[in-house]
Each structure stands twice: as structure tokens, then as C-alpha cells.
């Protein structure tokens, strides 16, 4: 019971439905390879900035989700909306906040 309440809390906290485990694997693959092409395999940065918990600290979830989905004008960051929905982007932001596994 305690566990399911906790799970409920997590879900509410990110206001998004958790992607299925298959989808999560796809997103992790995308993060490593496609995001990683510019931000680095270890997310320590490259042409794009580092995406480590400390560099993302202070940046609100909404801002990061919007950056992922819509890109950033005037920078090389493209919109990833064609490849994922808001739930996916929220999930990715949570993964980034946890740091490299």
C-alpha cells in the first residue's frame, strides 16, 4: 500500500504518464545516441551544453520539456516533437535530473 502511494506521488509529481518499459528503452537509446551526438555520450557536453544534474539545477521542468519538444531558436538545438510526446520529454527530464547511471 505504502509502495503504491509512493508511486502515485511520483506520477503526480511529474504530472505525466510514465512511458511503457519498451518506450523507456527507446528513449534511453535516443538519449544516448541522438542527444549524445551533441551533448556527449556521458552528457558532459560537446557542441551542446552538458546535461548533468548540476547544470540543470535551477532550470524548471517546463523550460526543459519545452526545449526538448520545441528546440531553441538561434541555437543548433532542434525540436524533438516529431519523435516524442510531452510525457516522454517529462520522463527524459527526470532521467537527466537523476544523473548518468
Amino acid at each position: 500500500m505504502k509502495k503504491s502511494l509512493l508511486l502515485l506521488g511520483v506520477t503526480l509529481n511529474c504530472l505525466a504518464a510514465e512511458p511503457t518499459s519498451v518506450r523507456q528503452a527507446e528513449l534511453r537509446h535516443l538519449l544516448k545516441n541522438d542527444c549524445g551526438a551533441c551533448h556527449g555520450l556521458t552528457l558532459h557536453g560537446g557542441m551542446g551544453p552538458a546535461l548533468l544534474p548540476e547544470t540543470l539545477k535551477g532550470k524548471p521542468d517546463e523550460f526543459l520539456v519545452s526545449t526538448i519538444l520545441n528546440g531553441r531558436k538561434g541555437t543548433p538545438m532542434p525540436p524533438w516533437k516529431p519523435f516524442m510526446n510531452a510525457d516522454d520529454a517529462h520522463w527524459l527530464v527526470n532521467i537527466l535530473r537523476q544523473g548518468p547511471q
Partner: protein, 388 residues
């Protein structure tokens, strides 16, 4: 003792006969991005000779070769510079020279290795022999800020040329006197040069622009004439498609009288006339081109693509300037490399954990080698080419 001598001699002879003599002219390196390792391969036998581990973060990597083709220098994402001995299958030397790095070049005379860095932004130059630091050139622009450096190449007269991504500048460094690097700066070359290349004759340096349409050209025979802009009106800002992977210009595609470059923000390969620097044709292709590489004889140009079209390879017929064929080598086709005279092309297919070898005449697969998440293939024949 007397009896043993023939035995000993015999043993020595056998030993000599068994010790395999090896040349390095048909060898190469395959980069395994996640494992941080490199395979030494034989391009004639289509086989792996050795694996060298512990080369750091190779999620982005490139390789140059010593002029005697014995050593490979691998530039890793994490600022690592590793010198591999292809004859002895071992790591000869390794340094970590910066926090974040993108590529490198070897000098005309083979004595210097230059590395282009993102963090701290600049170029560092090392002795090819010892990997000791020879020169440190921060890419300083406005208010002491450091720019990421891209598109670093070697050029004749012991020079290096590179572009400053954040500053929109192109610099040349003359290393004729290693202790006194002579730097020449070209400013306002265009917004966000993302990569650069040099023609195989060492005359023209071209930077591709990400922040605006077109390319920037520097004639190294007449640097005093400054930068010339090519195709400045080619892509209108409102019609530019998002770019899901930065193209590379290293695989310099010069074929016939044309230069073939990836269009930024359009699913096209641009064909530019090398005399007039005007657009001859825009060839529609399957996706956003990443590498556009000419077969060494210039008869074909091979193109790979950014996600989601990165399962394909397309071949352009240079005679007709149109698509000849579309291949589907597998999942995540990241890089390709031609054998010195172009009869084969080796293709790194990351998510299938293999490298495929194609016959470029029949376009049939003739061999494949296992490799863990391969992202780059580099042959020793690069040793003798300007800009590689």
C-alpha cells in the same frame, strides 16, 4: 654444447619464419564508441588484428596517421589523445589534453599533432613523437571569451587552419618555427561555422555555416583577398528544416569539377562548381546528409544521413549528377571509408554492432566484421592525403 648448436640454430630459423612480417599500408582503425576501444583491421584480409582498450570516451572520435603509417593518433571526446602502434598492436602513448575535444590534424611534415578543443576552446599542438606540448593557442575572441574550435585541418607550408564556432572566425597557424606560431585571423566569416575542410590540393579551405545560409571560402594561395561567401541565399530561414545531426565536412567530396557538400536544413546534397563557386545542382536525397564522400576516383559520391533516415546510404552518380542507388545497410549507419583506390567501402553500422564491406562497383556486400557500436572507420592511406 657442440651438439646443441644446430638445434639452437634450427629453433632460431623456425622462430624467424614464424614471426609474421607486417606492412601497415592496408591497415586501419575502427572506433568502438561505447567501449572506448579501437580495432586494428586489415583491409585486404577483411579481418581484425587486435583490439586496443582503455582509450577513454570515444563517443565522438577521429584519427590521423603518421606518414610512415605505423602510428594512429586517436582524438577522443574527452580530450584524450592516444597514439597506437599498428605494428605492435599496442597503445604507445596517451595523454588527456583538454576537457572536451572534437578532432585533430597532423602537420605537413608529420612532426606535429594539432587538436581542436571545445573546453577550453582552442588548439593545442603536440610533438607527434613524444606527445609533449609544443604550442597552446586559446581561441580567444571578444572580452577574453574562448570559442569552441571546429574544422581543424593541415595545410601546405606547415600550417593548420580551423574555425571558431562561437566567434565566426577562421584562423591559420604557421608552425614553420614551432616555438613561434604565426597566427592569422579572418573575422566575420559567418555565423556558427560548424565544420571545415580543405581541398586535396591544399588550396581552398571551406567552412560550412550553421547560423546562416552558405559556406565561407578561404583561398590559401591568396589569403590577402579574405573570405568569400558561397551560396549566401541558398536556404531561407523560414524554410530551414531542423538539423538532427551536425553534418561533417571532413570527408571532402571533390569529384570531376564539382564539390559535393551536405545542405544544412534541407534534404539535399549541393553540387558546387569549383571554378565559379556557384551552385550547379541540388540533388534531393533521403534525409539530412551527414557525410558526403567521393570514391577516390570521383565516379561516385556516397551519402549517409541523420536520424531517422540513418539506416540508409545513397550513391550519387557523378556523371549524371543524380541518384544511382539506395542501400539499407542496417541500423544507424554512422560512417564510411573507401579503400585507397576505391574498390571497397567500409560502413560502420552502430546498432547492428558490425562493419560492412561493400564492393563499390556491384554495390553488393562482400564481407562483414563484428565491432561493438562502431562509429568510425579510418584507413592508413589517410597518411598521405592533405586534409586527413
Amino acid at each position: 654444447m657442440k651438439n646443441r648448436l644446430p638445434l639452437l640454430l634450427g629453433l632460431l630459423l623456425t622462430f624467424n619464419a614464424n614471426a609474421e612480417l607486417r606492412a601497415t599500408g592496408d591497415l586501419g582503425i575502427i572506433i568502438e564508441r561505447e567501449a572506448g576501444s579501437a580495432l586494428i583491421i586489415d583491409t585486404t584480409e577483411h579481418k581484425q588484428l587486435a583490439r586496443i582498450d582503455k582509450l577513454g570516451d570515444l563517443s565522438h572520435a577521429s584519427v590521423v596517421f603518421s606518414r610512415d603509417q605505423r602510428f594512429a593518433y586517436i582524438f577522443g571526446r574527452d580530450g584524450g589523445l592516444s597514439k597506437i602502434d599498428l605494428l605492435q598492436d599496442k597503445l604507445d602513448k596517451r595523454i588527456v589534453q583538454a576537457g572536451n575535444s572534437i578532432g585533430g590534424a597532423i602537420s605537413q611534415d608529420g612532426t606535429l599533432i594539432a587538436v581542436s578543443n571545445y573546453t577550453p576552446g582552442g588548439v593545442k599542438i603536440f610533438s607527434a613523437d613524444t606527445l609533449e606540448l609544443v604550442a597552446d593557442i586559446p581561441a580567444e575572441y571578444a572580452d577574453g571569451k574562448l570559442s569552441k574550435v571546429v574544422g581543424l585541418v593541415d595545410a601546405p607550408d606547415q600550417r593548420f587552419v580551423f574555425s571558431l564556432f562561437d566567434a565566426g572566425e577562421i584562423w591559420t597557424i604557421d608552425m614553420s618555427t614551432p616555438k613561434k606560431p604565426k597566427i592569422e585571423k579572418f573575422k566575420n566569416v559567418g555565423k556558427f561555422p560548424y565544420d571545415g575542410l580543405i581541398t586535396s590540393d591544399g588550396r581552398f579551405y571551406i567552412a560550412g555555416l550553421f547560423g546562416e545560409s552558405g559556406l565561407s571560402l578561404l583561398d590559401l594561395w591568396e589569403p590577402e583577398k579574405g573570405i568569400k561567401r558561397i551560396l549566401p541565399d541558398y536556404v531561407k530561414p523560414d524554410e530551414q528544416l531542423p538539423v538532427y545531426k551536425m553534418p561533417h565536412l571532413e570527408g571532402w567530396a571533390v569529384a570531376d569539377d564539382y564539390i559535393f557538400v551536405p545542405a544544412i536544413g534541407k534534404n539535399e546534397v549541393l553540387v558546387i562548381d569549383k571554378q565559379s563557386w556557384k551552385l550547379v545542382k541540388a540533388i534531393p536525397v533521403a534525409g539530412q546528409p551527414v557525410f558526403v564522400m567521393a570514391r577516390p576516383d570521383g565516379r561516385q559520391v556516397w551519402v549517409n544521413f541523420a536520424t531517422p533516415e540513418n539506416n540508409k546510404l545513397q550513391v550519387i552518380d557523378v556523371k549524371g549528377l543524380d541518384l544511382q542507388s539506395t542501400l539499407t545497410p542496417g541500423h544507424a549507419v554512422l560512417h564510411m571509408e573507401f579503400t585507397p583506390r576505391g574498390e571497397n567501402v567500409w560502413v560502420a553500422v552502430r546498432d547492428d554492432d558490425q562493419v560492412l564491406v561493400y564492393d563499390t562497383h556491384t554495390l553488393k556486400e562482400i564481407a562483414h566484421l563484428p565491432a561493438q557500436k562502431p562509429n568510425g572507420v579510418f584507413f592508413t592511406s589517410r597518411a598521405n592525403k592533405i586534409g586527413f
